[in-house]
C-alpha cells in the first residue's frame, strides 16, 4: 500500500493551568462536594470546639424536644443534644470508613502487585479466591464477618475492608500484568530489572488515577455499609454516637411522631455519601478524560 508517510505526531503537552481550571469549572457540583467533605472532616476534627453541648450530656428536663434555638436538631429520650451527637458521630463514621478503605487499598494493592508479578498458579488461586469473596454481596459478607468476630468498631472496619480488597487487588493486578508484558517486549530491559523499579516507575503513575477514583467512591460505600451494620445492631452499639445507631434509636420514636431523631442522622449519612460519590465522579473526569467514558 502506498500510504502517505507521516512524521510521528508531536508529543502530548502536559495540561496547562488554564486547562486544569477549565476542567474544574465544568464540574461545579463535584467541586462543591469536595468542599462539603472537607467541611465535614474539619467539623469532625474540631468537634469539641464546634459542638454546642457534650454529646453524652443528658438533661432530664428537656427530653424529646423538637427543633429549637437551644437545640438545633432537637433532643432525644435522655435529653442529649442531637446536633452535638451528630457532630461527634462524624468522627466515628469518617474514621471507620477511612480506615477500612485505606486498609483495603493497601492490602489489595500489595496482593495485586504480588499476584500480577508472579502469575502462574499463584495468580490462578488468587483469582478464584477473589471470585469467591465477590460471590457474597458486600454487606452480607460484612455482616457475617462482624457477627462471627464480635461486636466492635475494629471488627466492623476489618469486615468492611475485607469486602473491598478484591476490587483493588484486581485493579493493581491488571496493571502489573500489563507492565510485565511491556517489560518482556523490550528484551534489553528484561534482564535484571528489580521489582521495586517496575512498581515505582511503571506501575504507580498508571494506577494512581483509577485507584484514587475507586477509593473515593468506596469511602461512600464503606460509610453506608457501616451505618447499615450498626443500624441492625452489629458493630457500634448504643449509647455510642454513630449515625446508623442514632437512626436506629430514632426509629422506635417514629410512631410517636418524633421525626427529628431518625431524620437528621440519616440525612448526615446521605449528604456525606453523596458528596463522596460526586467527588469521585468529578475526579474521574478530572484526572483522566479517557477514563471518563460516558458520564
Amino acid at each position: 500500500m502506498s500510504t502517505l508517510p507521516i512524521a510521528p505526531p508531536a508529543a502530548p503537552v502536559s495540561a496547562p493551568p488554564s486547562l486544569v481550571w477549565r476542567r474544574i469549572r465544568r464540574n461545579p457540583l463535584s467541586f462543591t462536594a469536595l468542599c462539603v467533605i472537607v467541611g465535614i472532616a474539619l467539623i469532625a476534627l474540631f468537634a469539641p470546639l464546634v459542638a454546642p453541648y457534650p454529646p453524652d450530656a443528658t438533661d432530664a428536663g428537656s427530653t424529646l424536644q423538637s427543633v429549637s434555638w437551644q437545640h438545633w436538631l432537637g433532643t432525644d429520650l435522655y435529653g442529649r443534644d442531637q446536633l452535638s451527637r451528630i457532630i461527634y458521630a462524624a468522627r466515628v463514621d469518617l474514621s471507620v470508613a477511612f480506615a477500612a478503605t485505606a486498609a483495603a487499598v493497601a492490602v489489595g494493592a500489595l496482593l495485586g502487585a504480588v499476584v500480577g508479578y508472579r502469575g502462574g498458579w499463584v495468580d490462578n488461586v488468587a483469582m478464584r479466591a477473589v471470585d469467591s469473596v465477590m460471590a457474597f454481596p458486600a454487606f452480607v459478607l460484612a455482616m457475617g464477618i462482624t457477627a462471627a468476630m464480635g461486636n466492635s468498631t475494629g471488627n466492623v472496619a476489618l469486615a468492611i475492608s475485607i469486602t473491598q480488597i478484591p476490587a483493588y487487588l484486581r485493579l493493581i493486578r491488571g496493571e502489573m500484568m500489563r507492565v510485565r508484558e511491556m517489560e518482556y517486549a523490550d528484551a534489553a530491559r528484561t534482564v535484571g530489572n528489580p521489582a521495586w523499579r517496575i512498581v515505582l516507575i511503571h506501575l504507580l503513575p498508571n494506577c494512581l488515577p483509577p485507584l484514587i477514583v475507586q477509593a473515593t467512591l468506596a469511602m461512600g460505600f464503606a460509610l453506608l455499609t457501616m451505618a447499615s451494620l450498626s443500624f441492625i445492631g452489629l458493630g457500634i452499639q448504643p449509647p455510642q454516637s454513630e449515625w446508623g445507631v442514632m437512626t436506629a434509636e430514632g426509629a422506635s420514636q417514629i410512631v410517636t411522631g418524633e421525626w427529628w431523631l431518625f431524620l437528621f442522622p440519616g440525612l448526615a449519612i446521605m449528604i456525606t455519601v453523596l458528596a463522596f460519590n460526586l467527588v469521585g465522579d468529578g475526579l474521574r473526569d478530572f484526572l483522566d478524560p479517557r477514563m471518563r467514558g460516558i458520564r
Partner: protein, 338 residues
C-alpha cells in the same frame, strides 16, 4: 456449537467459586474466636456437658475433617439449630423464604419498571431536563441508606398521611393468610380469589417493596443510562443515522435492542443489591423473611441463622449470576452462533 461451549466453560468457573464460598462460610462458622459448642450448650453447661457437646459437634476433630462434616451437612440440608427458636435453621428458613421472595420480586418489579425507562430516556435526551432528573435520582438514590428511606416512608405515609399501614408484617391484624400454594400471599390470594387477603397483603407490601425497590432502582437507571449512551455513540448507530432511518427506529429499535442484552447482566447485579438490602429493609418493616430472621438472631448471639443467611445469599447470588450469564449467552447472537 457456540452456546454449548459457553455453557460448559461457565459451569466450570462456578465450581471453584462454590468451593471458595463454602470455605469462607465454614471459616466464619467454626474457625473464628468463640466456641460454638459453648453457645449451643448454654451458659450453665457443666464442663462435661461442654466436652460432650464439642464431641457431638465434631469440634475435637481436625480442621479438614470438620470442613468435610460441614459440607456433607449442607448437602443434607443441615444448617445447624437456632438457639432462639430451638428448631433447625433449615426449617425456619423454608418457612420464612416466601416472605423474602415476595418482597424481592415486588422490589425487582418496581426497580425494572421505573429504572429501565428512566435510564433509557435519560440517555436519549441527554443533558436535557429529563436527563438531569434521571441523574439526580440516580446519584441521590445510591447515596440514601435503605433503612433511612424506609423510615422516611413510614413517617410520611403512615404517620403523617395515614396512607400506609403500620409496619407490622405481611398482613393486617386479624387477617388470616390465604391458602398456601406458593407462599407468596399476593399470588396465593389471587389464585384462590381471596380478595380480603389480597388487599391486605398488597397494602402491607407497598412500603417495604417501594423502599427496597427504590434503593435498587438508582443503580439500575445509572447502568442502563451509561450502556445506552455507549451504544448511541457506536459505529453502527452512526451508520443507521447515515442510512436515513427514522429516529424512533434508530433509538428504540436498533439501539435499544443492543442495550437490552447487557441489561440482563445488570439484573444479576441487581439481585445482589436486593439481597444486601433485604436484611435491613425487613428489619425496618418487621417483615418475617430470612433477612429479619438473621437480624433478630444477632441480638441473642445466635450464630446459626446469621451464617446460614450469609451462605444462602451467596449461593443464591452464584446461581442467579449463572442463570443470568446463560440468558445472556442465549440472547446475544455473537455468543449463540459461532
Amino acid at each position: 456449537m457456540g452456546f454449548l461451549n459457553y455453557l460448559v466453560r461457565r459451569l466450570a468457573l462456578v465450581l471453584p467459586t462454590l468451593f471458595g464460598v463454602s470455605l469462607i462460610c465454614f471459616f466464619l462458622t467454626y474457625m473464628l474466636p468463640g466456641n460454638p459448642a459453648m453457645v449451643k450448650a448454654g451458659p450453665f453447661a457443666t464442663a462435661e456437658h461442654l466436652a460432650e457437646m464439642e464431641h457431638q459437634m465434631g469440634l475435637d476433630r481436625s480442621v479438614p475433617e470438620q470442613y468435610f462434616r460441614y459440607v456433607t451437612g449442607l448437602f443434607h440440608g443441615d444448617l445447624g439449630e437456632s438457639s432462639s427458636t430451638g428448631r433447625p435453621v433449615s426449617q425456619d428458613f423454608i418457612q420464612r423464604l416466601p416472605a423474602t421472595l415476595e418482597l424481592n420480586l415486588a422490589a425487582l418489579l418496581i426497580a425494572i419498571v421505573i429504572g429501565i425507562p428512566l435510564g433509557v430516556l435519560s440517555a436519549v435526551h441527554r443533558d436535557t431536563f429529563i436527563d438531569h432528573v434521571g441523574r439526580v435520582v440516580g446519584i441521590t438514590g445510591v447515596a440514601m441508606p435503605s433503612f433511612w428511606t424506609g423510615l422516611l416512608f413510614v413517617y410520611v405515609f403512615f404517620y403523617l398521611l395515614n396512607l400506609a399501614p403500620p409496619p407490622l408484617g405481611r398482613l393486617g391484624s386479624g387477617i388470616t393468610p390465604p391458602t398456601h400454594i406458593t407462599g407468596l400471599y399476593v399470588v396465593d390470594s389471587l389464585m384462590t380469589g381471596n380478595w380480603i387477603a389480597l388487599r391486605s397483603s398488597l397494602y402491607q407490601l407497598m412500603l417495604p417493596a417501594a423502599t427496597l425497590g427504590i434503593s435498587v432502582m438508582a443503580p439500575v437507571a445509572r447502568m442502563v443510562r451509561s450502556t445506552m449512551l455507549e451504544i448511541l455513540e457506536s459505529d453502527y448507530i452512526k451508520a443507521a443515522w447515515a442510512a436515513g432511518l427514522p429516529r424512533h427506529t434508530v433509538i428504540y429499535g436498533d439501539a435499544l435492542r443492543n442495550a437490552m442484552i447487557p441489561v440482563i447482566t445488570i439484573l444479576g447485579i441487581v439481585f445482589g443489591f436486593l439481597m444486601a438490602g433485604n436484611a435491613v429493609v425487613e428489619s425496618v418493616f418487621a417483615w418475617p423473611g430470612i433477612g429479619n430472621y438473621a437480624v433478630t438472631a444477632l441480638m441473642t448471639k445466635d450464630s446459626g441463622p446469621i451464617q446460614s443467611f450469609v451462605l444462602f445469599v451467596a449461593l443464591m447470588y452464584v446461581a442467579v449470576n449463572l442463570l443470568v450469564d446463560l440468558a445472556y449467552g442465549l440472547a446475544d447472537p455473537r455468543i449463540r452462533l459461532r
